[in-house]
Symmetry: C2
């Protein structure tokens, strides 16, 4: 089977490797997040076949860059990734953070070129899913086709949530909402919903939320003073989930 890797990935050392990580979709702890489909184990084997695992990405390395040829979408197996676009005037807009079990790179399909860049926030293991193979397999596996339509749709609805957050909510609400989002996604991976380490810097948070570093920092301080959140550098503890929800102004 031909192996496809994007240019920048190749540049920075994302290489398929012979080393057996003893991981496959069938035994992957994350498959309920990554592949929530009623796949026959036979189907999973086929999917496994096209997925390429590789040696981990180091902090700061790029998985792909805006403008790179689009060949694959990627699933995060461990670590975390930030996706971002560069604006006309050279500034950076963070468009998303991706944690284990989550899939990124789908924005590249439309123009056959990645529409954003993706960079490791910490050491990260990645599964590469060549899109051409995925398309072929989808045509014969209706549940896989459906799953990918759903994944892309999910990305759209997530973006709409961010649009609303940026357009309608205060700095307090935005930061609180991000904390809740990370908490929820942690819980989905059977990790603590109340204690976690933020892999991204304050700059990245501000950039994602349309705020300056200073504002993010002040919101954290305020939340500490209110005793709804404990912040120790990147270590976060949610002390009062209801309080954080109230600050985020969400009903759910």
């Amino acid at each position: 089977m031909t192996i496809h890797i994007s240019d920048s990935a190749q540049r920075e050392g994302f290489k398929p490797c012979a080393h057996d990580y003893q991981v496959n979709c069938g035994n992957c702890r994350l498959n309920s997040i990554c592949l929530p489909l009623a796949l026959e184990s036979d189907d999973i084997a086929q999917l496994d076949e096209i997925i390429q695992r590789s040696k981990p990405l180091q902090k700061g390395q790029h998985l792909y860059r805006e403008g790179d040829d689009f060949q694959s979408v990627f699933a995060v197996r461990s670590g975390s990734i930030k996706a971002y676009k560069t604006t006309d005037d050279g500034r950076e807009q963070v468009t998303g953070f991706y944690f284990p079990g989550e899939i990124l790179g789908m924005d590249g399909i439309s123009k056959n070129q990645h529409a954003s860049s993706a960079k490791a926030l910490e050491t990260a293991a990645i599964c590469e899913i060549p899109f051409a193979s995925l398309e072929k397999l989808s045509a014969v596996m209706p549940s896989l086709q459906r799953h990918f339509f759903q994944l892309m749709s999910r990305e759209i609805t997530d973006d709409q949530v961010l649009i609303t957050l940026l357009s309608k909510n205060s700095a307090d609400e935005r930061v609180a909402a991000l904390m809740l989002s990370i908490s929820t996604r942690n819980a989905r991976r059977k990790l603590s919903a109340t204690q976690f380490r933020l892999p991204m810097s304050r700059v990245d948070i501000g950039n994602y939320l349309g705020l300056t570093v200073e504002t993010v920092s002040r919101v954290f301080s305020r939340m500490q003073k209110m005793e709804i959140l404990k912040v120790d550098n990147k270590e976060i503890e949610i002390l009062d989930l209801e309080g954080v929800r109230a600050m985020a102004n969400v009903t759910s």
Copy 2:
């Protein structure tokens, strides 16, 4: 063939109708926008088969509402549609405007429920594409499958552009960028890139761009004073395209 219509569409009068509008994908003036695929005429006939045309939606009527069962995606044939979400606290966030040839409703796939509402800004003719049929057809028509993946990906990249606009740009830049976007989309339909009528209200524009009506109005006034735009209520004329580009702060 079974006919699927969403609940709210049914409530408000979106009904398939026997009247022959003498429209099909093969002869539709918009097909280069809506279906930019190398489809055999045979394929187009098959696609035509599943698409349902109906009597036009009147201004203010809903095509679907947030929470409705997801059955179909929709293509605009004439008129225009606004898509919006309702926030927890009851406010409205406009997530997009859709013009002839454009496709909406794909955000409903992920949860099998529409994630936003869609309402006619003026009388609008719509093609309904039942998603179940589309999925089946996609499995046997690779170019159609590819096309839909691309459409969804396009929606993602468009949302990312809006995210960046909301997060990084001033009121002037946002309004100018919207004018350019409408201008470009008009040109794609072989209409004037410099003169057009805005189908949406100032409230909708503000809501989409994360601004108040007053601010939108002031930006328009400013653009008039600068003589780069002529505004007469909803009638817009771009007097100086480069000037508008400069205001939007875009290089392209």
